[in-house]
Symmetry: C2
Subunit: 343 residues, 2 copies
């Protein structure tokens, strides 16, 4: 069967990696400041190794930094627009603030520049140094108001503290004030000591585990009760949350301590959150819809990394959603998440 | 609607707690050796506090130790038989071996005694001290051959090492040799530092997280390739595995390192494992069936703890399984898991 996508999709989960990084000018040695080095061409594409702590963290292609290359790939994936956010390993929460600040500023300007060249096809998410609330809020203002970025990407935890912790409230308050969406991506995940097998299991198993716990912490920590206007989305279909939620819902009816600390039902709260559709399986996608409803599901691909969804719209169609729901998942929900005003 | 259950179900996930523990005779102080103290009666039932490290770990009712009370509750739950295993906090992997050994022997004899009084309605699972392979294997032989226990319960990790680690191979080899099933229960879970909220979140969120990672480790560690005859089941519907598996399956086709280290597809391997149905939600139950197939799903209740499934057979019926599948999930698969020879 040949598939002719509508090319009207909005991909909320795609990443940018700069071709070059500025040289490190700080004083902390050793330091996980990233750099890139030349890598062999492959499939007619220029590649670079992203070096962190003297090791090759990941080899990425020019699709990671070239607006032209990226835009050329959109139609085949059924996409009209793509939201690009920094490769999470660049979020730099683990750097000293004095180092993180210039690196994150560089990333935000780099992302904005790619978007500026895209004639509206690419929208950028900012990074902010969440190791310090004041600096994070200031950078968010700069990224949105000066650079025109459309929202912000954050990690599922900040140096091990999950995002449902109330210490991050000033940041979320600023997101609401600026009316910008938050995209939560798995990073430096819990559960690494439970993996048996090769390195990619971090991405494959621990990433969805951490993002699931982060999403659960947003529910149990009451974030959406304190900030009901917050628009927050989770990568990888919310990770493991879809399996945790029915048990959390039941536990909420059984344990007085849970009922007391979560004034709205977990199931209802989950319906106020957004999730990408990056689960690689029609049954899993249908299950997300049955657990979370369809009003918060949006296309996500993890483009341009190796482990990305190459046919995101076909994946939706194969799950058997009706046309109205397909449209909502393909672009409608993403517009609401990103803010209709930017369309 | 009044529901008249067939009372033919087999519950593979229920727990036993002794009314009294032997006094600690070892030399390590302080020591997490458990004890019980009197608790107020409630609902006409005698209760005891289970004390660990000087704190009340959990207050449990006489249903935890009384065969009579337990058997009286079976028909209302639609159960003919129940498999009882120690409350996981009693598994004692964290005790010095010299302490764990007599405590586990006491538990196994206690469990066997309850079963012996039950006229075949209760089947017991042993505990074994997995902090030492030789002792664990010896205890398994004793529990099965001398005490007549039907199988063994193990934690999802042993002092932080997940069960897919090959260091536990001698134990699994003994399970195959003795032709007894293994029931994996969440314990001392990963992800505790990602929780925001009251203490029950350990059971509610971190338990299914840890058992999901344990089940994934069995797949990625190749346990069922080394021991194809092993019958192994996971508590809480396999926890988060059902959301991890499609991503693992996709990753297996993308990352050469995963394809090289896992010779059969993760999806196929998952179909050789067993899972209880303790997910409290018809959509989640249907999803387990669509991801794992129905051939390995078996009733589980967590009886008699507060957070248990009170109507397990009705839950299956409400998920809309056809009658043949309902029978398989209600008792057929459990018979195969437990070993048809004991029926």
């Amino acid at each position: 069967m040949s598939f002719s996508p509508c090319a009207c999709g909005i991909d909320v989960h795609a990443h940018v990696v700069p071709e070059h990084f500025p040289a490190y000018l700080g004083r902390t040695v050793p330091n996980p400041w990233p750099s890139t080095t030349a890598a062999p061409d492959s499939n007619g594409l220029c590649h670079r190794h992203v070096m962190v702590n003297g090791k090759n963290y990941r080899t990425v292609s020019e699709k990671s930094w070239s607006a032209t290359r990226r835009i050329a790939d959109l139609p085949e994936m059924g996409l009209e627009k793509q939201v690009i956010s920094p490769m999470p390993e660049l979020l730099s929460y683990w750097l000293p603030l004095n180092d993180a600040q210039p690196l994150i500023r560089f990333l935000n300007e780099y992302t904005a520049e790619i978007c500026d060249k895209s004639e509206g096809k690419l929208l950028g998410l900012a990074a902010v140094p969440l190791q310090d609330m004041d600096t994070a809020v200031a950078e968010l203002h700069y990224a949105v108001n000066q650079l025109g970025l459309a929202g912000v990407e954050i990690g599922s935890n900040i140096n091990g503290t999950t995002i449902g912790d109330s210490r991050f409230d000033p940041f979320f308050a600023a997101c609401v004030e600026l009316d910008v969406p938050v995209f939560v991506h798995a990073i430096k995940p819990a559960g690494m000591d439970r993996l048996v097998g090769p390195a990619p299991l971090q991405q494959v198993l621990a990433y969805p585990t951490d993002v699931g716990l982060a999403a659960a912490s947003v529910i149990t920590g009451g974030l959406l009760i304190r900030y009901p206007k917050l628009r927050i989305a989770f990568s990888h279909g919310g990770g493991t949350l879809a399996m945790l939620l029915p048990r959390l819902q039941q536990g909420w009816t059984v344990f007085p301590a849970l009922a007391e600390s979560i004034p709205e039902s977990p199931a209802e709260l989950s319906k106020k959150m957004f999730f990408d559709t990056l689960v690689f399986d029609p049954a899993a996608l249908k299950y997300l819809a049955s657990i979370f409803g369809t009003q918060g599901l949006m296309l996500g691909t993890d483009y341009p990394f190796n482990f990305h969804e190459r046919r995101p719209v076909e994946r939706l169609v194969s799950a058997g959603f009706d046309p109205v729901t397909c449209d909502a998942l393909t672009f409608g929900n993403a517009r609401r998440f990103l803010g209709n005003s930017i369309f």
